[in-house]
Symmetry: C2
Subunit: 490 residues, 2 copies
């Protein structure tokens, strides 16, 4: 005997409203595309609440070229080797497109916590990260709608029973679903808490999953009204916003003594010892599954490339990557600025060396006007958050500023100009940047002051003498990795 | 007691040669970068033969921004849900860069075969696919160097023993390595056969892994000479090349009767039945892990979008994607033309609907001169091979040509022009393309004639009446999937 409860006979008025909202959405989607607004729709909720069907109804009027649906939760094991937010951050839509998340960061965090795969403290970190992620997207101009599809314990029971009674659908009920149902009260309490704590920047909307038609109507209404608002007000740009991070006291660049140097003999001997040790550490890193992120920034011709090569030399090529970061490509510019770094993160146990980094936001993008003042001023905080999310995950994050003085740069530029096989390294842009040295120095000082956190510190590497610089960087890397390897891994 | 065998004391002459080749490579890499030549270096060989160390030595003089190393073999389980060549095809370098494969398609094929994960017939298909892959890259201007690092059974034994005797290195010896060593003779025979059968387009080079220094010297010599040759001769472009594919007899477009239509009532009823069946089939597809690839090509305003939406409607959004294919982005143009499709393939059990496809090569790219005549003439064969690799994998591949006549197109263009919310769909380019109708028709006829294979057939969908077209496409999809679901899956 089947009760008639999901029939959707909530009156023809609802049906008419749905039709009207759909018609509106049909027009809005093109305006969203034209104005290049990105839209994130997160659909969370109980197992068997009908998340998939709801999404299917929501996308009905949207042109298939304008939307995508991801189910990060069903990517098996992938997220395990990446930070908590990785599956969500790497799937954000580009400007002018809709992305539907069929369950997302709430479900992932709650499930891991209730399974005791993560501690209470780690769970709190994830709630904090979720808030940061939502705020960063919002401030970057993303339209975000968060839905929670709710059903009662009894309703869930009957739906699960129905799915299991049919050979064609029984596979849809997973052990995880059964577990959730058994622990319904615990899950409800945890969901409620999570939603309460993440209502701060982007509000939650609860939908009654037992009434299919009205739930759809409500979701469409929310979507249509949010889009109308965004279309009317234009792209939102968040104001700078400061959180307290434990900052290290750093010197100004002008106060850095660039005289240290190293003779050839000492260099050879140190290089050999340190590289050999780094090779051993790479093995341990790999086995202990510690992710390592090395960031290189510095003046043109400061010696980044050669420094990176000395680090890379003893590493097993299967376990590291050098990521050269150039100007963003069109598909990268069409997304929040950290996206191209999220998608380049190493797996656990791997080392990624970034040759230039996300700090471009507060240097070249700031100085060349590639982003607004609010954008780059907000970025210090956003970057600190991003790096804390990386170290929460267990990553070792080391940031090098390779420092030289203007005279040394000029010498090296001239050398490049006069050596045929080095000429490619020197561009017109390098000369133009050189003229802006004081402006860059100011930006770099501010960057180092505001983003040298305890968990992801900056190291200024004196590189007038390249040999000295290489040994110093190698020492910092090996010492930091020694420490990370000897600590108990979370 | 450790024997002195890998000491590399093969004379200082070798050392000097290595130095000279490295110096040459230092210069060459910049020329390779400037000329935008992509370089693939495949390093295959025995476990413990020193593949990683060899790669490490080879990259020593290469700027980290210009190379990458991939170990497709260690990507756990990933390849299992994708076609055989997926890990290699999706990792090809962009123009001007080097990609090192730390073991690749030979190791993967041989191992699966000896493990009996694949049949003899499937193994033969993989050998054929490997040849196709290498030829396609070569013809597309890639410089490819294939190395096999050889060691004897005794040498392997002593190296494995040494690795296992040290706590720091014992984890490096996997069960797979032990198995390979136990079956050394069988592996040798199989490697030799594989190399013999894949020496056709890109030759293999054997290196003596027991002599580290000379092996490195030989590898460097090969690399340097290949690069010199390529730099002198310029980018290679392969000639068209015809293999025999079982082609279906297809009509010319002008002979297609476009009069079929369907009344609203029949349409509604058929739509409901077919969509409901498709929804059920999607469940089975998902459970049986059958990958499905639907390709849409057709005239502007032929009704592709609406047709796709009727297919997508009953599908579980978690299990399908619509991939709109626009003009290639810079990072896509910098790689072989099929790369952007390789990287968009669905996982097993998923459906991917391509809204425009790789056939752009023989339509727009041909007609607009975006590739050379040899390029598009070669593409028929290359595309047939690509699609056969997909169906070898178990994929269902269905290709739709959505056909209308010029009058219908004009009507729809005018309708779009006069309807505000449809105007965005009509561009200047659409009008320009319309003027080239006869040229396009000729290209489409040739395309359909040359690429309608038994395994990946074209279906011409008469779309003067959109309702008729939608039902016809739905019927073809459901019937094909019915058949695929009822067959025994490989």
């Amino acid at each position: 005997m089947k009760e008639k409860k999901n029939s959707g006979n909530e009156g023809s008025g609802v049906k008419e409203e749905i039709r009207q909202y759909r018609d509106r959405l049909l027009v809005q989607q093109q305006q969203i595309r034209e104005k290049g607004l990105p839209v994130v729709i997160l659909v969370e909720g109980w197992a068997a609440a009908g998340k998939g069907s709801l999404i299917n109804e929501l996308i009905y009027e949207i042109d298939p070229r304008l939307y995508n649906v991801v189910s990060p939760a069903i990517l098996p094991n992938r997220e395990e080797r990446y930070p908590f937010l990785y599956p969500y951050a790497s799937a954000i839509p580009e400007n002018g497109k809709f992305m539907f998340y069929d369950s997302g960061w709430m479900e992932a965090a709650v499930r891991k916590y209730l399974r005791r795969d993560i501690t209470k403290a780690q769970y709190k970190d994830r709630i904090r990260s979720a808030n940061e992620f939502e705020r960063q997207l919002r401030d970057g101009g993303y339209i975000i709608i968060k839905l929670f599809l709710d059903i009662s314990c009894e309703e869930q029971q009957s739906r699960i029973a129905e799915l299991r009674s049919n050979r064609e659908t029984e596979w849809r009920v997973t052990d995880e679903d059964i577990w959730q149902h058994r622990e319904y009260d615990l899950f409800r309490k945890t969901y409620e808490e999570f939603m309460e704590k993440t209502d701060k920047y982007v509000p939650w909307h609860r939908l009654d999953g037992e009434k299919k038609k009205t739930a759809l109507r409500d979701a469409l209404e929310l979507l249509v009204k949010s889009l109308d608002k965004a279309l009317e007000e234009g792209r939102y740009c968040g104001k700078p916003f400061k959180e307290e991070f434990p900052l290290l006291k750093m010197p100004k660049l002008k106060d850095v003594d660039l005289s240290p140097s190293m003779d050839e003999e000492e260099y050879r001997s140190e290089l050999k010892t340190l590289q050999s040790r780094l090779g051993e550490l790479h093995n341990i890193i790999y086995r202990k599954k510690i992710p390592v992120i090395l960031c290189y920034e510095g003046w043109d011709a400061a010696g980044k490339g050669g420094n990176i090569r000395r680090i890379a030399r003893p590493l097993d090529p299967r376990g590291f990557d050098v990521m050269p970061i150039a100007s963003p490509e069109p598909h990268e510019l069409a997304r929040q600025y950290l996206w191209r770094f999220w998608t380049r993160l190493p797996r656990t146990g791997h080392i990624c060396i970034f040759d230039r980094t996300w700090y471009g936001r507060v240097m070249v993008e700031r100085l060349e006007g590639f982003c607004s003042e609010d954008d780059w001023k907000r970025a210090y905080n956003e970057i600190n958050e991003f790096e804390r999310q990386l170290t929460d995950w267990g990553a070792v994050v080391i940031k090098f500023w390779i420092q030289i003085d203007p005279d040394t740069q000029l010498e090296r530029f001239n050398d490049r100009q006069n050596t045929p096989e080095k000429q490619w390294k020197l561009t017109e842009e390098d000369w133009r940047n050189r003229e802006k040295w004081p402006l860059y120095e100011e930006a770099v000082d501010e960057m180092i002051e505001k983003t040298s956190t305890e968990n992801a510190p900056w190291y200024i590497i004196e590189s007038n003498d390249k040999k000295y610089a290489r040994i110093k960087a190698l020492k910092i890397v090996t010492e930091t990795l020694e420490k990370a390897c000897s600590e108990q891994i979370k």
